[in-house]
Amino acid sequence: MSLVHLTINGENKSVEVPPMKRLLDVLREDLHLTGTKEGCGEGECGACAVLLNGELVNSCLIPALQANGTSLCTIEGVSTEGHLHPIQQCFLEKGGAQCGICTPGMILATQHLLNKYPNPTMEQIQEGLAGNLCRCTGYMRIFESVQEAAKLQNAGAGA
């Protein structure tokens, strides 16, 4: 067993887990943060995506020990004080979420994308979300949600 220290959504946590336990399972089973979903478990679908030191990663492919000392943002850390994040609000309003399994990963991939490109082109949106599969929406509503979120964030930044 290994003692793993994490900063999750701003809070310091320590867990004692097998070092090869997937970060995904540490989040869900040890920390009871079940917002992060498992889809394929092979790094193809992005349902388990989280931000690790600000970088988008698939938590199903990260052994717990490799996350030691890192700072993580999961879907539980995206909203603040009970208010949806603008990205979440836009997914809600534009129909970017249906069954919801891919949504936490989509939101975090969008956050990572908009940090990199505050005004993303359609091509940048498609590439940024290419690792996140959705079987419900057909993607168009997700792209619209991301475009709307970019607009909203830029308006907020300019205000």
């Binding site: 790094g43 193809e44 995506a49 988008l56 698939n58 492919l61």
Partner: protein
């Protein structure tokens, strides 16, 4: 998950030397793990043979990009994202940037490393064709020293490399001599995003007065390992791109390529399809030089 994670051990030794010491003490017992984008899939599928893993993901000694002595040096722990963000690599090795950009998704590029891509030794891997075309060399390190070899000699067979169990791939070196070369790369997969290639071809060549010189071709999925297509290069050396000779140059090149490669049949494609498309890519490259 087909594996019980409690049956696996993982340690993160503090330095490269500490990792090499442990590999040397018990050769073959420990498997190195960098970004985990391949090893963790193997774990999930129950394909991971070693029960003990050593993380090299945190080793700063293996994560660098620098230009020195007219060579571009890339540490094996450099991620695909690092490669895509590097102004030096963009300037000198555009084919490598292109191949890094189509390796998996952004999340995988943030973790996966060029060293892992090479050492996993899949014949379909994305960065080897570019590195082969660029004539890269690689440095392998162990507790007892280091050795540098031509990258083309590193791949010995299907998933077989020259790496000894006590060695790690340390770095990759590419000579900065391609400023005047025309460069080409194309991957053909089932779809654009994070597909594994059915076939990929990287090519560089100089064109002097409508004649080809210094042609270098690297390919994926054309045989059991990433390959350099030397016989085709030889046929193309000095070949003419003039309008009255181009068709013959293309015909000879396609024949040479078909003669020296043995495309593979697998779940992603057939040997016949791969052979035909490889010829088409080569032809596309040659026509782009003539046009």
């Amino acid at each position: 998950m087909h594996s019980d994670v409690t049956q696996f051990d993982l340690a993160a030794p503090p330095s490269l030397q500490a990792v090499l010491k442990q590999l040397a003490a018990e050769p073959g017992k420990h498997a190195p793990i960098a970004g985990g984008t391949e090893m963790m899939v193997a774990l999930g599928a129950g394909r991971l043979q070693q029960r003990s893993l050593l993380s090299i993901q945190h080793l700063r000694e293996l994560r660098f990009i620098r230009v020195e002595d007219r060579l571009l040096h890339i540490g094996s722990g450099t991620t695909f994202t690092d490669i895509r963000r590097s102004a030096e690599i963009a300037k000198h090795l555009p084919l490598l940037v292109q191949s890094a950009s189509w390796t998996g998704s952004v999340a995988n590029q943030n973790r996966g490393t060029i060293g892992g891509n090479i050492c996993n030794a899949s014949p379909a891997a994305d960065t080897p064709p570019a590195l082969l075309a660029y004539g890269a060399t690689v440095t392998l390190v162990s507790a007892s020293g280091e050795r540098t070899m031509r990258y083309v000699d590193f791949h010995l067979g299907y998933k077989k490399t020259a790496l000894r169990p006590d060695e790690l791939l340390h770095s990759i070196h590419v000579p900065l001599v391609f400023g005047d070369h025309r460069q080409y790369i194309r991957k053909v997969g089932t779809r654009n995003a994070q597909a594994i290639s059915k076939i990929a071809l990287a090519a560089v060549a100089k064109v002097e007065e409508q004649r080809l010189a210094d042609v270098r071709l690297g390919a994926a999925s054309l045989t059991d390992r990433p390959v350099r297509c030397s016989a085709t290069e030889a046929v193309l050396s000095g070949a003419s791109l003039a309008s009255d000779a181009l068709e013959e140059t293309i015909r000879l090149a396609r024949a040479a390529l078909a003669g020296e490669t043995h495309a593979i049949d697998d779940i992603r494609s057939t040997a016949r399809y791969r052979g035909a498309v490889a010829g088409n890519l080569l032809e596309e490259f040659l026509r782009s030089l003539a046009g």
